[in-house]
Symmetry: C2
Subunit: 480 residues, 2 copies
């Protein structure tokens, strides 16, 4: 991209989207009219207006940065999305495919034939190919691999051999390497011979003849130091580096903590095999935060808002089904006390208050703990203290708000003892919520699961069944 492209497209992305949507709508009106006049659907008359629209739309799209076209594709429903996709210049297909989210990418790839896919993939670097490969048809991948040279093929294979959440899957191979026994002047001349430097080049990698990483030369140091100095004098000899099998999210946190822009990836014998850059890490940080939100709500994955109904159902069913079971359990808990409810029907009206406040409070606790765990702030050493604090908060909330609702219950039903039972039940259920709000994410983490996974569904299950049991149990003992 040129810088000027960026300027233009940044001005107002929302406006651009609005313009595209308008052109698409005009387009559809024209098509509808044409169809109606023709009386059948398949023979599309390409009249003048129709074409003018498409030309205007295409011009708009050509002006936009690939990342902005990707944004527009994400925001369009499937049919419009494919109309736009067909208008995008073929040579930009690859860039745009790399920018869109997985679910949108799938819809775009489904719309391309093997020939188009090959053309789009041909421009890509090894790391980009590896990103795309899992979603491409098998024979396209096969054909692609044949066009690569041995080193590129090896790189694609190696990138594919790592899990999505390992450093190896996110590294790229655009390293500029230099030797330590040359002067900065030589380095400057060497760089001038390269027509272009890879994006995010804030440091050069200093390697020996075996390809072992000896250090890094930050561009900043290259620029401010005397050109007669040797690389070895100026380089940082002990840089932050990563191994390909490290957890990518840990790497992202290190990038954030140490304000890195790029960092070398080395194998076990310290040989430089790739690099990580901040742009990939930013994407990862955003994805992790998103997954946390989704997981807490019991959604399996990021859902393209125009995903088909069927896709949405699949995405949401797992936790809904679990919730159905937990709700059923809660219902059976109430079933145990049907006799009590028959005698004192007020219990039926009051019991959801106990359960509901418990659920809300438990969700607050679990959200806070999940956050703290994501930031590595929870350790065995401070669990007990954390638990004490949450229990103290729950106790006070229970007595205060439980007290309020106890008074309300008295005013409504004229029974002091009902009010006291209400207050006691609220307090106990809030204590249960605090306990579970701490224990659920910790247990999930100990089992090697994501602590946020369905956290909300689970805590609500506990506070519902628990709340009903506590309240109806206390009522049965003390009121009947």
């Amino acid at each position: 991209m040129t810088e000027s492209e960026v300027k233009k497209s940044q001005e107002s992305l929302q406006d651009r989207l609005a313009q595209v949507v308008e052109l698409l709508q005009r387009q559809r009106v024209v098509e509808d009219l044409t169809h109606r006049q023709e009386g059948h659907h398949n023979d599309r008359v390409e009249n003048l207006v129709h074409r003018q629209n498409l030309v205007e739309l295409q011009r708009k799209l050509d002006d936009l940065h690939s990342a902005d076209v990707a944004y527009i594709l994400e925001a369009l429903p499937l049919d419009d999305r494919l109309t736009v996709w067909q208008l995008v210049k073929a040579e930009r297909d690859g860039d745009i495919l790399l920018e869109v989210s997985d679910s949108v990418r799938e819809t775009l790839i489904a719309d391309m034939d093997d020939h188009e896919l090959l053309a789009a993939a041909k421009e890509m670097d090894a790391d980009e190919l590896a990103d795309l490969a899992p979603e491409l048809p098998r024979d396209v991948v096969h054909e692609l691999m044949e066009t690569l040279d041995a080193q590129q093929r090896e790189r694609v294979r190696s990138a594919l051999s790592y899990d999505e959440d390992q450093v190896g899957a996110l590294m790229d191979f655009e390293m500029v390497t230099i030797r330590e026994d040359v002067s900065l002047e030589v380095v400057l001349r060497y760089l001038r011979r390269l027509k272009e430097l890879p994006s995010h080049t804030d440091k050069l990698f200093v390697v020996d003849y075996d390809g072992k990483l000896k250090g890094v030369l930050p561009i900043k140091r290259l620029l401010v130091n005397d050109p007669d100095k040797q690389v070895a004098e100026v380089m940082a000899s002990d840089p932050v580096s990563f191994h390909p099998d490290e957890d990518a999210y840990d790497a992202a946190q290190a990038f954030e903590r140490y304000d890195l822009i790029s960092a070398p990836v080395v194998d076990k014998s310290d040989r430089l095999i790739g690099r990580l850059t901040i742009d990939e890490m930013v994407d990862l940080i955003r994805e992790e935060s998103e997954n946390e939100v989704l997981n807490m709500a019991g959604l399996r994955e990021e859902e393209d808002i125009f995903a088909s109904v069927w896709r949405s159902l699949r995405n949401r069913w797992a936790w809904l089904a679990i919730n159905l079971i937990t709700a059923f359990v809660a219902s059976r808990v109430i079933g145990l006390f049907e006799g009590s409810i028959e005698k004192l029907v007020a219990l039926a009206a009051l019991m959801p208050i106990v359960a509901g406040i418990g659920g809300n409070s438990g969700n607050q606790t679990i959200t806070m703990i999940v956050r703290a765990m994501a930031l590595d702030q929870v350790s065995p050493g401070n669990t007990a203290r954390l638990m004490r604090k949450e229990l103290a908060v729950a106790l006070i909330n229970g007595l205060v708000w439980g007290g309020v609702i106890g008074v309300v219950a008295y005013l409504l039903y004229g029974s002091w003892s009902l009010g006291v039972v209400m207050t006691a039940a609220m307090t106990l259920n809030l204590l249960l919520a605090a306990l579970m709000g701490v224990l659920i994410p910790m247990t999930l983490a100990r089992m090697g699961r994501d602590p946020a996974m369905g956290a909300s569904v689970m805590i609500t299950a506990m506070t519902d069944s628990g709340g009903f049991f506590i309240f109806l149990g206390l009522a049965t003992i003390f009121l009947l």
Copy 2:
């Protein structure tokens, strides 16, 4: 920081924390013993073991990068945190204060006297001072401002004049500026005269004699082009730039979309007044995602996990109180149907299932919509379509899962009509959940509020009251 510091500290942050915690515990044991032998608390005998421990702890801390000390401070309860804080070398106080979260920073500042605060702040740049100033005592800020030169003071004032979420509050002033009518050779020589370049310098800012931004010279271009060329030939003349009153989060999204590392901030007459860097943007992206999670759960702000019980209560009360009211409303809805429940007590056991599944499903919808809105993917043009999709998903879920639970209700209570009412109520409540899941965040956004704010509490309120009303209403009409 030197690069070697970073290397050492990156090795295992969790281990480092564990070591510090262990030293602190040993320390406490020693203190306890000393106290017991002495028989009173105030006269602390600093024996040899005690001192050795502190020295070891101090050595450990000195080895750590400021960001890592900040991490450890975050993870420690208040008393341990202050012990560590007192051991940190005074000259690093400023760096660390800038790294920790707001709530932890407050506890650290409360522990420092004016003299220490002044010393810590003296090393800071204008933008850093502006970050810290709101939390410092008034007279310290006043004294600080007096020590600054006119330009610095003006910069601090200007940074303070912007809202937290505006570009102006996040920009720094470490720009390297050059003229367009000089050769790259001259630029290279000029840079060599500077001892150091500011962090995140991936481009130099080209300004005219009035300080107006003419373009940017990416370091990459400076390095690969012939040194005899003029800056004007090589620079990008239409770079992405921001205004100080723009929304910072929009800027962060632009950084993410266009893979920027730094960008100029200009005033209305195009004069360069500061720059934004990716590190600030990464922090912002993380904060935004965090706020979304917190807001959905009804927490007012990020809560330091060792916050005092009182702080935690204040943070959580607002939404708990609202939840109390909504729960009360739901309870009154049930109250309306007490007569029906007395006649058919099974209703009391089944009604929380209808409400619960509705709540879960509504939370899934609202989470998805809030996400899509944060990514600017929801526009007036696609709202209707989005709504249709959510309603379709809800209808199918209602018929399928409602059907299942209807059969279960029949098996439990032997009444087909009860099963049918259950299925119908589930379906209607899921449709309500879908409708509200779309409307609540959109309405909040239209009112200029954060669409995630208390989203979970509100949708649950709707699906609870709505679910009870629908189920008990249908049951009253058709079963009694």
